[in-house]
């Protein structure tokens, strides 16, 4: 791993305002030495992908507790593919989602979905491991 800190974009997409989780994740990643950009609430998939490209982040973490995950994650993936950045950024998710949806989203290319009981340290480890794995393949 290089010495440059991991850059993470955390995003709330859609209309829901549940931001307790995303803020805990933001703080945990920042405390672990990562650079965190948080979009704030009510973003669209297009805004988030554009910000990810502009900020040149390693990871996009999308928090969603509105039940719209099966609509909004595919939108993000499609936009990332369209703009040729699907392999550049690691896509992760978090929120309240049924298990079978989690499996489907992983098949679509969301690399990890972290539920509400995930300890902050485990989130940090997961981000590091995914970034490291990607560096090895590049």
């Amino acid at each position: 791993m290089t010495d440059t800190p991991i850059r993470v974009l955390l995003a709330k997409i859609g209309l829901d305002g549940h931001d307790r989780g995303v803020k805990i994740v933001a703080r945990a990643l920042r405390d672990a030495g990562m650079e965190v950009v948080y979009t704030g609430l009510h973003r669209t998939a297009a805004e988030v992908v554009a910000t990810a490209i502009q900020e040149d982040v390693d990871v996009i973490g999308v928090s969603l507790l509105s039940g719209a995950h099966m609509t909004l994650f595919p939108q993000i993936i499609e936009l990332m593919k369209e703009q040729g950045v699907f392999d550049r950024h690691i896509l992760m998710g978090g929120g309240v989602m049924p298990d079978e949806d989690v499996e489907t989203l992983k098949e679509l290319g969301v690399q990890a979905i972290l539920g509400q009981d995930t300890p902050p340290d485990a989130i940090v480890e997961c981000v590091r491991a995914l970034v490291l794995a990607r560096q090895r393949t590049v």
């Binding site: 305002g17 995303v22 948080y38 704030g40 719209a68 309240v96």
Partner: protein
């Protein structure tokens, strides 16, 4: 009451206090010291859910400075022991399970199911587009229509939602905020369409915008016009709707966003003070509206602290309304509230454990004297609840109400040295926060300064770290963890065709209605809004009667009122 300190009645005499203190001292030196030398306690310090130190044991000495007048009797100022003199002996709390998903027809079926199971009040959960005042056919709504709640756009939807339900008979609570005044207008318009008497409608609309900026984060307009809308709803209901609560000031979401119980209580009182001031400033007499203010709190896991929280809240509110706002009608001083068990305590692993968590939280809410209660479904860490999960949750309330006998005696923990001391500490803690907020320049200024948001984020992070460190046990998550697959449960499935059906229905209404009439009513609404002293409710009611949609009404005022954006802190 307004007695001077030396007129107050103490619970114990100085001689008793001295004797108790002597006893405690000798016990500490003797039995306790020798026992601790052999068997140390498991922790150095014991903390409540609000991170306040609790003692090993409480005695009369701990309540010696609490006057009897602060405890008192149920149904009498300062209402510490309950808002009514008979409490559950007269009538059990309203069992009010929130429900809402898909189209109005689908939710209507769930309502009828819940009523058939013995539920005594209705509570409507709306989907995110409705909550934000966005139409189902707006591009921003894609994937969210009918997901987290029911989708409502126009008056016909309201009619479908309550089809076959007598609104003069059952009370209806509606959890909605920035767009609440439109739903309120829809409700009034529906009542008129059905020829109902507004004075017989009972229920509640949340319409608590301040906690949105602080915690739940649903907003449309900036605080100033939003406060005006709240004021207009309260003023409209005053004198017209004797049994309707036009606001439900809510600590629940503040708590769910991560606040401690003390922060939940203190921030809710701070918001209350601001709303009351706003309506009083508009020239409405305090006793003309205060009795219709209603409240909503969570019941978290820390059993005794939660009970003390409810008791302290009633006392702080009563004193504030009487002493600060000069209310003279006791009904203006009596806090009535709905409680929901704590969704954030539900776990995905071992979901059946959630039944037990919810039952204990519900019991604390009842011992704390709640007026209505929602118990969460065991599956809500996965999705919105299934019919079975809601039935178990409702049965939990029925068991507490009808099998345990806890309803027979009012405020059964009143007089407990521990609970009375906790109640007093909570009251003091609320006042410390209120002083801090005043020093910052009041609630609205504190919102601008991100004071509440930062306090809540700090508590949430602190809790997450303590949970991760195992300092805060969560059974099945950080202790007694199952290996392997774990319990599987059936979760509620959203009908994938609901969204499309809802959009088609809205577009059909938009095609068939008198569009000229819609434009006229919206123009009147905009004109009315330009005069800050005018009440928006009558013009909004006219617009919804013409089948103007929620999204159209919101957009009409957006140019004038502007849109709120947040600078997030974490």
């Amino acid at each position: 009451m307004s007695a001077t300190p030396d007129e107050l009645t103490t619970l114990i005499t100085d001689a008793v206090r001295q004797a108790v203190e002597d006893d405690v001292k000798s016990w500490e030196d003797d039995e306790l010291a020798s026992f601790l030398a052999r068997h140390p306690e498991s922790q150095e310090e014991y903390l409540s859910g609000s991170r306040r130190t609790v003692k090993r044991v409480y005695t009369p000495a701990d309540v010696a400075d609490i006057p009897w007048e602060d405890i008192g009797l149920p149904g009498r100022f300062p209402f510490t022991r309950g808002p009514y003199p008979t409490m559950y002996r007269g009538r059990p709390w309203t069992m009010r399970q929130i429900a809402g998903f898909g189209t109005p027809d689908e939710t209507n079926e769930r309502f009828k199911y819940l009523i058939a199971q013995g539920q005594t009040g209705l509570s409507v959960d709306f989907d995110m587009p409705t909550l934000m005042g966005i139409d189902s056919d707006d591009p921003r709504s894609v994937g969210e229509v009918g997901r987290e709640g029911v989708a409502i756009d126009v008056l016909d939807d309201m009619d479908d939602l309550f089809a076959g339900i007598d609104l003069e008979e059952i009370s209806v609570s509606m959890t909605i905020n920035p767009s609440a005044w439109i739903v309120f207008a829809l409700y009034v318009a529906l009542a008129e369409r059905r020829g109902l008497d507004l004075n017989k409608l009972s229920g509640t609309i949340q319409a608590d915008i301040l906690k949105e900026y602080i915690a739940q984060k649903e907003w449309i307009y900036p605080p100033e016009p939003s406060m005006r809308i709240v004021r207009d709803s309260i003023a409209f209901a005053a004198g017209r709707m004797a049994r309707y609560n036009p606001i439900n000031i809510s600590g629940y979401h503040i708590s769910e966003a991560g606040a401690t119980p003390l922060q939940e209580a203190a921030f809710t009182i701070a918001m209350t003070r601001t709303y009351v001031q706003e309506v009083v400033n508009a020239g409405v007499d305090i006793d003309a509206f205060a009795s219709r203010l209603s409240f909503f709190f969570v019941c978290q896991a820390d059993f005794f602290e939660e009970i003390a929280k409810f008791r302290a809240l009633r006392r702080v509110y009563a004193k504030m309304m009487k002493e600060e706002f000069g209310a003279t009608n006791p009904e203006s001083m009596r806090m009535r509230f709905h409680t929901q068990t704590a969704a954030a305590t539900l776990t995905k692993p071992q979901p059946l454990n959630n039944i037990v968590r919810t039952a204990l939280q519900a019991l604390a809410a009842v011992l704390g004297g709640t007026q209505s209660l929602h118990t969460n479904g065991l599956d809500e860490a996965y999705a919105i609840p299934s019919e079975l999960a809601m039935k178990v949750a409702l049965r939990t309330q029925q068991i507490i109400a009808e099998e345990t006998n806890v309803t027979q005696v009012i405020d059964p923990l009143g007089g407990s040295y521990y609970v009375e001391a906790l109640t007093r500490d909570f009251e003091q803690g609320i006042h410390e926060y209120l002083d801090k907020i005043e020093a910052l320049g009041g609630t609205l200024r504190a919102i601008e300064l991100n004071f509440f948001q930062r306090e809540i984020a700090d508590s949430a992070y602190d809790f997450a770290k303590r949970k991760a460190a195992g300092e805060r046990t969560v059974v099945g998550v950080n202790k007694y963890v199952d290996e392997g697959e774990g319990q599987k449960i059936e979760v509620h499935k959203i009908d994938p065709t609901s969204e499309r059906r809802k959009i088609e229905r809205l577009q059909e209404v938009k095609r068939k209605r008198d569009n000229e009439r819609v434009q006229e009513t919206l123009a009147v609404l905009l004109e009315t809004a330009k005069n800050p002293d005018a009440n928006l409710m009558p013009a909004t009611i006219e617009a919804v009667k013409a089948q103007a949609s929620m999204g159209e009404i919101v957009k009409t005022l957006e140019g004038l009122f502007g849109r709120y954006t947040e600078t997030p802190v974490f």
